[in-house]
């Protein structure tokens, strides 16, 4: 998305560290929260963002081989869910890990002007699944 927007932007002040979840309900990803002053006439772009390091990553460990292994990422404005994406990944071997480009998970929002908190949450399909978000940030920008 680097060339698709211009203007103000804000990154979460801290990274997600070594966040890991096996929760079956949506859970806040550590530190991936940004307060944003939405201006008139502007949409808002919200994106998971790499931290300029080779070892930033979004990784999914589906666990034991079975169908219906997935994770979901949800973008929220306050307590309102504005977008959710599901990625299913079957594992032919229980030890396999799947990795994804962090910056390919993003959302757009068109709120009325005001100050909002945007954040990112995650869940997995089964307790044997694990989603890891390592040293990523949340980007919020004018669109």
């Amino acid at each position: 998305m680097n060339n698709l927007f211009l203007g103000r932007y804000e990154l979460s002040s801290s990274t997600s560290g070594s966040f890991s979840t096996s929760s079956l309900t949506l859970t806040d990803i550590t530190n991936l929260s940004v307060s944003w002053d939405a201006k008139p006439g502007c949409g808002v772009l919200i994106s998971l963002w790499g931290n300029d390091s080779f070892d930033d990553e979004l990784a999914f460990l589906p666990g034991t081989a079975a169908a219906s292994r997935y994770f979901e990422l949800a973008f929220l404005r306050g307590s309102t869910e504005i977008s959710r994406q599901r990625i299913q990944q079957y594992n032919s071997a229980a030890s396999q890990t799947w990795k994804y480009s962090q910056n390919s998970f993003w959302a757009l929002d068109f709120p009325t002007p005001g100050t909002y908190t945007y954040k990112l949450q995650a869940l997995v399909a089964a307790a044997s699944c694990t989603l890891q978000v390592t040293r990523c940030r949340l980007l919020v920008a004018d669109f």
């Binding site: 977008s83 994406q85 299913q88 994804y100």
Partner: protein, 144 residues
């Protein structure tokens, strides 16, 4: 006072996509029209104001697994602006699904000013796979 007064960016979104097919011929999955004042349109597959979870997937049914994946095409007024086969990991067990991230699909179309209709088309590389798409829209917006 200096600088330019920025006007709101025009944008539009299709109806929510709901597609499931084993067809190896392209079929329309989403259509959206936008009237842009200057040239250039950003397009994307976005789970914006949709119900459920945005998902683009392929499910292996039976037979050969060659080219397991998803064909996607975006056209502007009938002209192709994007076409791609996303190949996925080999799955040899019938009924298992693998997903792609819809927001990994986006692009810029250097079109002329005026009204344009964008269409998302999907097809399967083989009748042995079911392509599924749900919970997202074809979004278009004018470039600044």
């Amino acid at each position: 006072m200096s600088g330019l007064l920025q006007t709101a960016r025009r944008w539009a979104a299709s109806s929510e996509v709901s597609y499931s097919s084993t067809s190896t011929s392209y079929a329309d999955a989403a259509t959206v029209t936008i009237d842009v004042r200057r040239g250039g349109v950003i397009w994307a597959l976005l789970p914006i104001a949709c119900t459920g979870q945005g998902e683009l997937s392929a499910t292996y049914n039976s037979g050969a697994i060659t080219n397991f994946g998803v064909w996607a095409k975006v056209t502007r007024d009938g002209t192709t602006v994007f076409e791609n086969l996303r190949r996925l990991g080999i799955i040899a067990t019938a009924g298992l699904k693998t997903s792609l991230n819809p927001t990994a699909y986006f692009g810029f179309d250097p079109c002329a000013p005026g009204s344009h209709t964008y269409v998302l088309q999907l097809k399967s590389p083989s009748s042995n796979f079911t392509i599924g798409a749900t919970g997202f829209k074809l979004f278009v917006a004018e470039a600044r």
